[in-house]
């Protein structure tokens, strides 16, 4: 997977978990100065991305235990090999309509220091996008304050999320 995969098909694609994990392991070894890597995923039909460094792993949806007294986007907690991690429904966080999970639904687990590991609930994970930095455009007046920049991929835009703002639930 040295070049971004062009794809027109949306929805579930088998093996993305493994691919994403392999990409994670590979880290950024070569020409990092020129290209950056992003994990792309879908929410309500649109493409979004997060810097690959922010993502620890991607797992299938597992039973979520609801937690009382938390803001609505926090759907609850999952248990992850001995860790108990809050799951943030990215749809709700970005003001998109709530949707029942499907077979493609994934939890992107973000690194977090000092007890801050968080799971992000997304419709499906697409692929790893490697693009030169000049193809990133800072997003002015975008749809949501949590969108940091737009990435150009062929003839479509991918919204790059600002992870700190996504996780700041007080705002």
């Amino acid at each position: 997977m040295s070049e971004p995969v062009e794809t027109t098909r949306r929805g579930p694609r088998p093996g993305w978990d493994a691919l994403a994990r392999a990409a994670l392991r590979r880290e950024s070894q070569e020409d990092t100065a020129l290209r950056r890597e992003f994990v792309t995923f879908h929410l309500d039909g649109d493409s979004y991305a997060l810097p690959i460094e922010a993502v620890r792993e991607i797992v299938r949806l597992r039973p979520i235990t609801p937690v009382p007294r938390v803001p609505a986007p926090i759907r609850g907690v999952i248990s992850l090999r001995g860790e108990v991690v809050q799951v943030l429904d990215l749809r709700l966080r970005l003001g998109l309509p709530r949707e029942e999970p499907t077979r493609a639904t994934r939890v992107m687990v973000l690194h977090g220091d000092d007890g801050g590991v968080t799971g992000l609930l997304v419709d499906s994970v697409r692929d790893v996008l490697r693009i030169p930095e000049e193809q990133m455009r800072s997003d002015s007046g975008g749809d949501h304050e949590a969108v940091a920049a737009l990435l150009v991929r062929g003839n479509e835009f991918v919204s790059l999320l600002d992870i700190d703002r996504v996780l700041d639930l007080e705002a």
């Binding site: 597992r62 235990t65 977090g112």
Partner: protein, 717 residues
């Protein structure tokens, strides 16, 4: 000054451990030195054990500081060791100058450590060098001749086995005209260390143990024989009876008597019954000779004999483990438990199908075995985390000794139950609150000797620390016989500070509980000894953070008891699993007092609150479903009330179902929301994901403060 650069950079964990260990050694040395000076001042004999301990401390300090590149300290400790060696060997007498040099050295090392702590680097090397020069000068100067030593008349084999120090002590005792005897005893191979320690302690009460030697001779199967060379004023017969020797004997150590004893180690007259004399007779002779032959090279035997070897051994048999590694192990065990439940499910499925029923039964059997072993594994990992409270208690007793020295108060610290075990993490966190409680008692509670005598109390005050296990909890009580808490003063102060409303009537218990409120202290001034003005509120916060409870009881003029109740471990707790709506929650069992089935008709309403008449007492009720907004509470159905208790406060929590009891491992909840009121964490139960663990103290506290807010309104006409 290369040491300086090296050391300032070393602010690693290992380094911090070094500092705390070195501080402990210094504290012990200070205590021992002052005891030594005291005894000398009283004209008493120098306690050889004291000098020995000082010598060992200096030796440890040398090794430690050398390892961490503190050349100055290492060098100084090396010279200290020399001085102390001279004292313990009787080469030099314990005089004013020697004590002065020792005091100065300990102070300088302490100063060096302090500087290091503040990150200033050592920088005291010059002072150390100057002090070392003075020590050398003292060592070369002619000194008061150590008293000459007595003549020996000892079995040659035994004499060859003695170290220089032991021989010195032997001569010293002979010179003083004490009787030298050999105490022989058999011990079980498996537990000889304990038996030997017991015997040694018993002998110390009546004399001095000069040397402990494994002893050749016939011993029953799986037993080992030791000879203790003892100096005592007791006659041998009386000694044997007093020591209640099992299968042992006491005989004179003189050469003439040795001949008879060596022929056959016959129980001396007056010795207690030998455990198995017949067996001893029957033991094959060649075996005894082998032992004899092995013990022959006496030059090596002396290294076997000394106490130094024993201490080395105990070090090599202990392993220091980072507690986080144990947490990881615990996690792994938790995962295995979950895997196991998957196997159980599979086995059940296989059994249900006639074609695979036998296979299923087989698998079930294997599963049972796995389950048992897993439980053992879990218990084993837990056990490793457990440490006795002894260390903390000893620290406290050192603090009290120091306070006693620094002030003129006479206070005795009594310690009970030091063997009670607790999770290592909890023990660490207990040091500060306990220290505070003890200092408080010393400083505020115990009156001066004059006041005490005037009140008809013994001159010496007493603080008693007692620990014991109660079910899943460990209780630690700190009791003093001081002046007690002036409830009136506490109440007045609380009103002044606006902590409570002057109009509210409070019971004595409630008033006493106010000592845990922030900003309340019964005495205005903060003295040197009571520390940084940390109040009982911090003590309560610390204990609560550990999942514990702290309470105080006090009688004016009689004393005060602070009771701390703590869970034995943080890692694993017993929990009651309850169900509300579609959800399950775990409630730590140590705060569950009882559970009741409640008919809706029994629930009484008063001012919008729900109450239950529980044996004549009004139990406030809360519905977990409404607390956590889990849909409409089922008001028409029977529900279970889980009666929660934190200290004296009670709360009935209404839930739909009780699902049983389980050992659970509490995990922190990770994520953007750092804490949720009422939730202590989460745990995994079976393979169905996470289950939230309720924070009972928060729930009870919330309920109580709601009560308090509403109470005055209700009392108004």
């Amino acid at each position: 000054m290369t040491a300086r650069r090296k050391t300032t950079k070393r602010r690693t964990k290992a380094y911090r451990e070094f500092v705390s260990e070195a501080e402990e050694i210094l504290e012990r040395m200070r205590d021992d030195l002052s005891d030594l000076a005291d005894r000398r001042g009283q004209g008493a004999d120098v306690d050889p054990e004291l000098v020995n301990r000082l010598f060992r401390s200096a030796h440890s300090l040398k090794g430690l500081s050398g390892m961490f590149g503190l050349d100055g300290v290492s060098e100084l400790s090396h010279h200290l060791e020399d001085v102390l060696d001279g004292l313990r060997m009787g080469r030099t007498a314990v005089d004013e100058r020697a004590l002065g040099l020792l005091d100065e050295s300990v102070a300088l090392v302490a100063q060096t450590l302090e500087k290091l702590e503040e990150g200033e680097g050592a920088g005291l090397d010059e002072q150390a060098a100057e002090l070392i020069a003075r020590i050398d000068g003292w060592a070369r100067a002619p000194k008061a001749e150590a008293a000459g030593e007595g003549e020996l008349d000892l079995e040659p084999a035994m004499q060859r086995a003695l170290t220089e120090y032991e021989e010195h002590r032997l001569r010293e005792n002979v010179r003083r005209g004490r009787r030298i005897v050999v105490v022989e005893a058999n011990f079980d191979i498996l537990s000889f260390e304990e038996g030997l320690a017991e015997l040694t302690a018993a002998v110390r009460e009546v004399g001095e143990v000069l040397s402990t030697l494994p002893s050749p001779g016939e011993t029953p199967e799986a037993q080992i024989r030791f000879s203790l060379l003892v100096a005592t004023d007791f006659p041998p017969e009386g000694l044997a009876a007093r020591l209640e020797l099992a299968g042992g004997a006491v005989r004179p150590a003189s050469r003439s008597a040795a001949a008879a004893a060596a022929a056959r180690s016959e129980p001396a007259p007056g010795a207690a019954d030998a455990t198995a004399p017949a067996e001893a007779e029957a033991a094959p002779r060649p075996r005894a000779e082998e032992l004899d032959a092995e013990a022959e090279p006496a030059g090596e035997a002396d290294s076997l004999a000394g106490g130094d070897l024993a201490s080395l051994k105990s070090i090599s048999e202990t392993v220091r483990v980072d507690i986080r590694k144990l947490d990881e192990l615990m996690n792994l065990v938790g995962e295995l438990v979950i895997q196991r439940s998957a196997i159980a499910k599979l086995a059940r499925q296989l059994r249900q199908d006639a074609a695979t029923a036998r296979l299923g039964a087989e698998l079930e059997k294997i599963h049972k075995g796995l389950e048992r072993k897993l439980q053992e594994l879990q218990a084993g990992v837990l056990e490793v985390r457990m440490v006795p409270l002894r260390q903390v208690f000893e620290k406290l007793s050192r603090v009290v000794r120091r306070l006693r020295r620094d002030t003129d108060k006479e206070v005795r610290l009594e310690i009970r139950g030091a063997d009670t075990e607790l999770d290592k993490l909890i023990v660490e966190e207990l040091v500060d609150p306990l220290m505070h409680v003890v200092r408080n008692a010393f400083d505020h509670a115990i009156e001066t000797a004059e006041e005490r005598l005037a009140a008809g109390k013994p001159r010496e005050g007493s603080i008693r620390l007692e620990a014991y296990q109660r079910g899943n909890d460990v209780v630690i009580e700190a009791t003093d016989d001081g002046r007690g808490i002036d409830a009136e003063a506490v109440h007045r102060r609380a009103i002044e500070r606006g902590v409570v409303d002057a109009g509210n009537h409070l019971s004595r218990r409630e008033i006493l509980d106010l000592v845990f409120a922030p900003g309340l202290s019964t005495r205005d001034e903060v003295t040197e000894t009571s520390g940084r003005g940390v109040g009982m509120d911090v003590v309560r916060a610390n204990i609560t953070a550990l999942g514990g409870v702290v309470d105080v009881a006090s009688e004016p003029g009689r004393g005060t008891t602070v009771t701390m109740t703590l869970p034995i471990t943080l890692a694993i707790i017993q929990a009651l699993i309850v169900g509300v709506a579609g959800e399950r929650f775990a409630i730590p069992l140590n705060s569950v007092r009882e559970t009741l089935l409640v008919d809706p008709a029994e629930v009484q309403r008063s001012d919008g609150r729900e109450l239950l008449n529980l044996r004549g007492e009004a139990l406030p009720l809360r519905r977990l479903a409404s607390e956590f907004s889990l849909g409409e509470a089922l008001r028409e159905q029977k529900q279970y009330a889980v009666v929660l208790g934190i200290g004296d406060a009670r709360l009935g929590l209404l839930v739909d179902r009780l699902e049983g009891q389980q050992d659970v491992v509490i995990k922190p909840i990770q994520g953007p929301i750092r804490s949720v009121r009422g939730i202590a964490g989460a745990t995994e139960v079976g393979d169905s994901g996470a289950v939230l663990v309720l924070d009972v103290s928060a729930l009870v506290e919330d309920s109580r403060s709601r009560e308090a807010r509403e109470a005055p309104a209700r009392r108004a006409p």
